[in-house]
């Protein structure tokens, strides 16, 4: 019984952490390409395009590049929190399932044991 719970825990944790890492790395890779493209075009335009004689617009797009870069880092924080949330909830789900089985086997009526963990923080 405890081996089953442990295996389920490891499998749930692996699944959620793997999916979370994959999503975050995909987003970061895509953002990296887009930010590199933005930086390249700003530099080109400053040298020989419309930004050469337009300081205001040049500073606006530089600021935009900075904002997009900082936002990517903040999105990684948010998506990491989301991954932690999913991993925690997966573990709680498996543990709660084990507790229900044990308590149910000990004679506690099923209607007293909700199917999912009852406390939401």
């Amino acid at each position: 019984m405890s081996d089953d719970i442990l295996n389920d825990l490891v499998s749930a944790l692996k699944g959620e952490l793997g999916a979370g890492y994959s999503a975050i790395s995909g987003i970061v890779e895509n953002q990296g390409k887009l930010l590199a493209k933005q930086a390249e075009h700003i530099a080109k335009s400053r040298i020989s395009g419309s930004l050469r004689d337009d300081d205001d617009l040049y500073h606006f797009y530089l600021q935009s590049l900075q904002d997009n870069t900082v936002a990517t880092a903040k999105a990684v924080v948010m998506l990491s929190a989301l991954t932690i949330e999913k991993a925690w909830n997966a573990i709680a789900g498996v543990l709660w399932g084990g507790i229900r089985t044990i308590l149910g086997g000990a004679g506690v009526p099923g209607n007293l044991l909700p199917e999912t963990p009852p406390i939401h923080l």
Partner: protein, 166 residues
């Protein structure tokens, strides 16, 4: 031999852990995602149209379309900003380690709700493009520069919002 008190404490903690689910990011909002997809399509269509526009005399033909996308993104920004941030997420960004990256106050909130600030930047970029078009006309690389600023912001907003679907 493990003392009985330790065993009971561990069991109690396992029970408490098992009984609690946590919420560290806002809930998925299908209306927000639909709105983002619609506004995104309309904006790409506007950019495609602007590739052949140039002088300020061409601005009136696009005025309504600028207003439409700016209005949509502003409404979506307000919607994203007004949604509830889970209390635990609010506490998470106040941790010292996270604060270094996320800053404090409104900046920190961006770490648990990325989209509003991205949409604010999109609106600012579209306004700049519109005002340049109206007053000076568009240079050959104006649309490309505007899209370069727009693309990372909309992609990040869409990716994050879709990731919230648990």
């Amino acid at each position: 031999m493990v003392p009985a008190i330790l065993k009971r404490t561990v069991l109690l903690w396992v029970f408490v852990l098992a009984a609690c689910t946590i919420h560290l990011a806002p809930s998925y909002d299908p209306a927000l995602v639909d709105g983002l997809n619609k506004a995104h399509t309309e904006t790409l269509t506007l950019f495609a149209g602007l590739e052949t526009a140039s002088g300020p005399e061409t601005f009136p033909a696009y005025q309504e379309r600028y207003a439409s996308v700016i209005g949509q993104f502003e409404a979506l920004r307000q919607r994203a900003e007004a949604r509830e941030i889970p209390p635990l997420a609010g506490r998470l960004v106040k941790l010292k380690a996270v604060e270094k990256l996320c800053g404090s106050g409104a900046d920190a909130t961006e770490c648990v709700n990325v989209t509003p600030k991205r949409l604010e930047n999109i609106v600012a970029g579209l306004r700049v493009l519109r005002d340049r078009h109206r007053t000076r006309g568009l240079a050959s690389d104006s649309v490309e520069l505007a899209r370069d600023a727009y693309d990372p912001a909309i992609h990040l907003a869409l990716s994050v919002e879709n990731a919230l679907k648990r």
